[in-house]
């Protein structure tokens, strides 16, 4: 059985055909009704985003699919692109019609270069079938998609950094506002959506907003694709409704007995076993789909060390809280490992983490201290007074 039952049971192009019969405001209304929120993790309502871009006046607009899947522990977009590329491109075409864009760009991360030939073949086939190009399916809709290869930078998952890369600059996030829906690629209104968001949009157009809302919670509607790895028996990609509890999810993947679960990747939260009844949804624990399970034998400081190494390496270096803050937190973890960190200094590090959350320019710096702060809060008994035998 496919790990993605909903996407697998869709009728090819039914969503696009439906969209072609609807007016632009009607498509956006359907998206708003569905309550779909951005599947990259930030959870911005998709219908609202499309509406902003549709309302913006410009000679050109763009639809950008963010396939720069770099969050540690996330790999769902790779599976979606391998198995349901048509659904993603269908979603992009629908978005193109909704906002009035003629060009779509798939920003594919450099690490996924091996997917490129497959995706190019799917695009070529769609052009042959008149699903892309001029006069799509006999209507006056014009839309085409090209692939842009990323060059190895986690930060380009941030939408304004991604646009900087597309424009040929360093992937350094811009100030927001103005948001890309007004001032995006080449200064034109641009919709930047995650791979899964676009595939889900195609499903919503096909089956309707009410069908989508049957699953999930009131505030987090529909299904979500999860990438599950770490200490469990059946790692892989899973589809679950939004609002599933951590405990239910662990049961499904054979991860019972876990000591902690990292929800949302390195920039997410570390949930201890005592909180496994909490739900995964935007109103409780938000996630882009990354779930990393830590078994009872894992040392949480090793985990933090790995995460902070990652952030030190991937910080773009543009703003000080993130550039220096992550280095300081990493040094703090090293001190803790050696048992040389005073309680006063640990408190200072936590204050630094909170400062980074407030003062960093983009999501990377704002969320990179989350894991540190949640480990300090929930696993304090593991951290202090360590001897070298622990290391």
């Amino acid at each position: 059985m496919s790990p993605l039952p909903t996407f697998s049971t869709m009728t090819p192009e039914a969503g696009l055909k439906k969209a072609l019969t609807l007016s632009r405001p009607d498509i956006i209304e359907e998206m708003k009704n569905s309550g779909l929120k951005g599947r990259g993790g930030a959870g911005f309502p998709t219908g609202m985003k499309w509406n902003f871009a549709a309302a913006a006046r410009a000679d050109e607009k763009f639809v950008i699919c963010n396939a720069d899947e770099g969050e540690p522990g996330t790999f769902k977009d790779r599976i979606i692109l391998q198995e349901h590329a048509d659904l993603v491109f269908e979603g992009m075409t629908i978005a193109g019609k909704a906002v009035g864009a003629k060009e779509g760009i798939l920003f594919l991360r450099g690490e996924y270069t091996y997917l490129k030939s497959h995706l190019e073949a799917v695009l070529a086939k769609r052009r042959e079938q008149n699903l892309l190009g001029k006069g799509i399916l006999g209507t006056d809709l014009e839309f085409d998609i090209r692939i842009f290869m990323g060059a190895g930078a986690y930060i380009c998952g941030e939408e304004t950094a991604l646009i900087e890369a597309l424009e040929g600059f360093r992937g350094e996030p811009r100030n927001r506002p103005p948001f890309p829906v007004n001032t995006g690629f080449l200064g034109r209104p641009s919709v930047v959506n995650n791979v899964e968001t676009l595939a889900s949009s195609a499903c919503i157009l096909q089956k309707g907003a009410d069908w989508w809302k049957q699953k999930g919670t009131a505030q987090s509607t529909g299904i979500k694709i999860f990438s599950i790895s770490g200490d469990c028996q059946k790692p892989g990609v899973y589809e679950f409704p939004m609002g599933i509890t951590v405990a239910q999810l662990l049961k499904e993947v054979g991860g019972e007995g876990a000591k902690a679960v990292q929800v949302g990747g390195a920039s997410g939260q570390c949930i201890p076993a005592s909180q496994f009844e909490r739900t995964i949804a935007f109103e409780d624990i938000p996630t882009g789909g990354s779930i990393i399970v830590f078994g009872p034998h894992r040392d949480m400081l090793d985990v933090l060390h790995n995460f902070l190494d990652f952030f030190v390496d991937e910080s773009c270096g543009q703003c000080t809280p993130c550039r220096r803050g992550n280095v300081k937190l990493l040094e703090g973890v090293e001190l803790l490992k050696e048992g040389k960190c005073s309680m006063a200094y640990l408190q200072e590090l936590c204050a630094l983490g909170e400062t980074m959350q407030i003062a960093s320019k983009c999501g990377l710096g704002q969320s990179s201290p989350s894991a540190f702060l949640s480990v300090v809060k929930n696993f304090r008994e593991e951290l202090m007074g360590r001897t070298f035998s622990h290391v």
């Binding site: 996330t74 991360r109 190895g152 991937e314």
Partner: protein, 173 residues
């Protein structure tokens, strides 16, 4: 001889600029293609790219030095990128690292003297359910064990001869 090499490079970069449209948005695709063919972007290549796009060469350097898959330094014919992020780490990437270093006689961040192999770290490659994972150029290997390392390297060595002769004929675009 040196001039001819340079002229050929300049000609190829010019053709690339025409293919991608002579504007700033062409910069990353151009650098990617030059890097793929020459395994480096030297200051001469950066100057020619800058001339073609009408920007200062330092702008090119600024972009080249930012991205992990670009970088101006020369690397080997095969870049082995081992994922070091959490899930691969928990699945034993340390031992794969040791074996790679032992088999090639270099450390991560270095290139073998014969210019065949470079060892580099990658941050999460999205193969967390099948780690430890590594990329050899664009080719993916999953569930790599220390014993498999030798096999992977041999596979590269076997195809190296073929690639080397192909390269004489290869031209960009």
């Amino acid at each position: 001889m040196l001039m001819t090499d340079r002229e050929r490079l300049a000609g190829e970069i010019q053709a690339l600029a025409e293919k991608h449209g002579k504007c700033r948005t062409a910069l990353i695709p151009m650098v990617q293609e030059v890097k793929r063919k020459y395994q480096k972007i030297d200051s001469y290549a950066m100057q020619v790219i800058a001339d073609q796009l009408g920007i200062h060469p330092v702008e090119v350097y600024s972009v080249v030095s930012f991205y992990a898959f670009l970088g101006s330094e020369a690397h080997g014919k095969y870049i082995i990128r081992l994922c070091r992020t959490i899930s691969c780490d928990m699945q034993g990437k340390d031992r794969v690292q040791r074996q790679l270093e032992a088999d090639l006689g270099i450390s991560f961040g270095q290139t073998t003297a014969d210019g065949k192999f470079s060892l580099e770290w990658a941050n999460c490659m999205g193969m967390c359910d099948q780690g430890p994972a590594l990329l050899v150029n664009d080719r993916l290997y999953t569930r790599v064990t220390p014993e498999k390392v030798h096999e992977i390297l041999e596979e590269c060595r076997r195809t190296f001869g073929v690639h080397a002769t192909e390269r004489k004929e290869a031209h960009l675009v």
